[in-house]
């Protein structure tokens, strides 16, 4: 960049002013206040009482918080191990040059990602219902599955994982498909001519080429899974479900802050979530920012 300046020295600050103003008021200040709140107990937004570290001590002994943490972790791990292979598999199958209607299929697989979790949650209450629900009817038709099985009574996590699959497999597939465009096709042809089997080609040519994107997608999915809220909350009719089977970390934050009215406890939960997510988020931003170094 040139040493001299052609522009008015104030110009960049003017361009940045809307951003800086809003970040200052609606990010920086709330962030500081969330530290402050975490040391208080509040009764609605107007009244607060300093309680030292009690919120954090209480959290450690709060069985519901551990339940929420365990549920969230279960969902995140299941999502990772079921969704990633499926998404990558679909991307590999779709990435065949001879395949007709690729764009159309890609569109179909991606389409559920446009539907917000709140709408999926709302509809899922009927999808997973016994007798009338879509899932039981299809399972019953295909495998003779018990048509009256009450998913939302016995197996909330199963329902959440299935709904999550429907929503996000196609979304993740899009990233893998874009990454596969970067696989060197000459290298792939050379490997084929040299007699490399499909698995060997995948392992030695495709996988190294898409590894950064793979990391990005895994982290994105992990971060998203840890913030699961709308889907179970709306699916379970604004509750945590029978025996708190659908309670997640963010749902616990919401229930404490906005149904009980303790913004302090909610902020403490928020900080625990932030600490859990700081490593994956930082890593993901690193992948994201990688481009500028090229």
């Amino acid at each position: 960049m040139a040493q001299y300046r052609l522009h008015n020295p104030l110009a960049p600050y003017l361009f940045l002013s809307p951003f800086l103003l809003i970040i200052g008021v609606f990010v920086a200040y709330p962030l500081l206040q969330s530290v402050n709140l975490a040391f208080h107990q509040t009764f609605g937004p107007g009244f607060q009482r300093f309680v030292y570290l009690d919120n954090f001590f209480n959290l450690l002994q709060d069985p519901l918080f551990w339940k929420a943490l365990r549920n969230t972790l279960t969902y995140a791990v299941a999502t990772l191990f079921i969704q990633m292979p499926l998404a990558l598999g679909l991307a590999l199958l779709l990435n065949q040059p001879w395949l007709r209607g690729r764009t159309f299929l890609r569109l179909i697989f991606f389409s559920p990602a446009l539907v917000g979790p709140v709408f999926v949650g709302f509809l899922s209450t009927i999808v997973f219902a016994g007798r009338v629900g879509l899932l039981n009817r299809v399972l019953n038709g295909l495998f003779g599955f018990n048509p009256d099985y009450a998913w939302l009574q016995n197996h909330v996590m199963g329902a959440l994982i299935i709904a999550g699959l429907w929503m996000y497999v196609g979304f993740n597939m899009i990233f893998f498909l874009a990454a596969l465009q970067n696989v060197n096709s000459d290298l792939l042809d050379a490997a084929r001519i040299d007699g490399a089997k499909a698995w060997q080609r995948f392992n030695h040519v495709i996988l190294p080429a898409i590894r950064p994107v793979f990391g990005f997608v895994v982290l994105l999915s992990l971060i998203g899974s840890f913030q699961l809220f709308e889907l179970p909350f709306v699916l379970l009719n604004q509750t945590a479900g029978p025996d708190y089977q659908g309670l997640t970390i963010v749902m616990y934050l919401y229930l404490n802050g906005f149904e009980i009215g303790d913004l302090g406890y909610a902020s403490a939960i928020g900080w625990v979530l932030a600490v859990i997510l700081i490593v994956p988020t930082a890593l993901q931003r690193f992948y994201f920012g990688r481009k500028e170094e090229d």
Binding site: R5, V27, P117, I223, F226
Partner: protein, 285 residues
């Protein structure tokens, strides 16, 4: 021969998954035109003696009529609210992001590095952490139950500033900008008539991303808004359950379909920009 067999398996497998993906949409579409009795007895369209063995005359517009005319939960009003909130927010956010991103990409100034670091640090904050303090702030500012309280915090996302900074850094040469300056072009005009047209694909993608995020956002309007007349679709649909019996399947499917249809149309128009914008940060292009 083996190759042809493999191809056939691939095609069958892909279309099986495609049908599985579309099944809930089709089921919802059928359900929204059926009365409760037909919903309970048949999975898709009611069987009868009409064309394709379907009883077309049993299908009904009643579910849609009901959600558009109901006094307590009016989906027409909620749809308008959603359109307003999502359009205003996405326009403001795109403009603020493009301006900020341009400043960080193409100007040499003292606070350039600290502000870039600030943008990256902001991206590390999980949004739920700010929920409680933002609610308290809006309470103090008297902005609870207002659209201002919903739109302002979302009007300048750090994510957008970062995306536009990347796009402008790589795609626009400094020479064009300096040449315009030498010709006496003002900074505002450079931005609006040179920079913005050059990042138009990025703008389309980002408009779409923020529109979608605002349309589907539930937690913030749920916390901030109190008056049912102000509810966007995401909040209204959850309140639907209080207005109706849970067994009104036709109404539930019709309201969901109505809530996602505008998004689907918008996406079909902008899908190329949207998908490439989505992956632009993750994949080297």
């Amino acid at each position: 021969m083996v190759d042809r067999f493999q191809r056939a398996i691939t095609v069958i497998f892909l279309w099986f998954f495609a049908i599985l993906t579309l099944l809930p949409f089709f089921w919802m579409l059928c359900g929204s035109f059926k009365n409760t009795g037909d919903f309970l007895t048949g999975l898709f369209l009611p069987q009868g003696s009409g064309l394709f063995g379907v009883a077309w005359d049993r299908l009904t517009w009643d579910n849609y009529r009901e959600i558009f005319t109901n006094e307590r939960v009016n989906f027409f009003h909620s749809g308008m609210n959603s359109v307003f909130l999502a359009s205003v927010t996405s326009l403001l956010a795109t403009l603020a992001s493009a301006m900020g991103g341009y400043a960080l990409a193409k100007f040499n100034f003292r606070l350039r590095k600290p502000i870039t670091a600030l943008v990256l640090l902001t991206l590390l904050i999980p949004p739920p952490l700010l929920l409680a303090p933002t609610y308290q702030l809006l309470y103090w500012l008297n902005l609870l139950d207002t659209y201002t309280g919903l739109i302002l915090p979302a009007a300048a996302p750090a994510f957008g500033v970062f995306l536009f900074r990347q796009a402008i850094l790589n795609a626009i040469s400094n020479d064009i900008i300096d040449a315009a300056r030498i010709d006496g072009c003002g900074e505002g005009r450079i931005f609006f008539s040179i920079i913005l047209p050059l990042v138009r694909p990025m703008m389309g993608a980002f408009l779409m991303i923020t529109f979608l995020a605002m349309w589907n956002n539930f937690i913030t309007p749920q916390v901030v808004l109190q008056t049912p007349e102000k509810f966007p679709l995401a909040v209204a649909i959850v309140n639907l359950r209080e207005a109706y019996n849970m067994q009104e399947y036709g109404i539930s499917t019709a309201s969901t379909l109505f809530s996602i249809a505008p998004i689907a149309c918008l996406f079909l128009l902008l899908q190329r920009e949207y998908l490439s914008g989505l992956t632009s940060g993750a994949v080297k292009g």
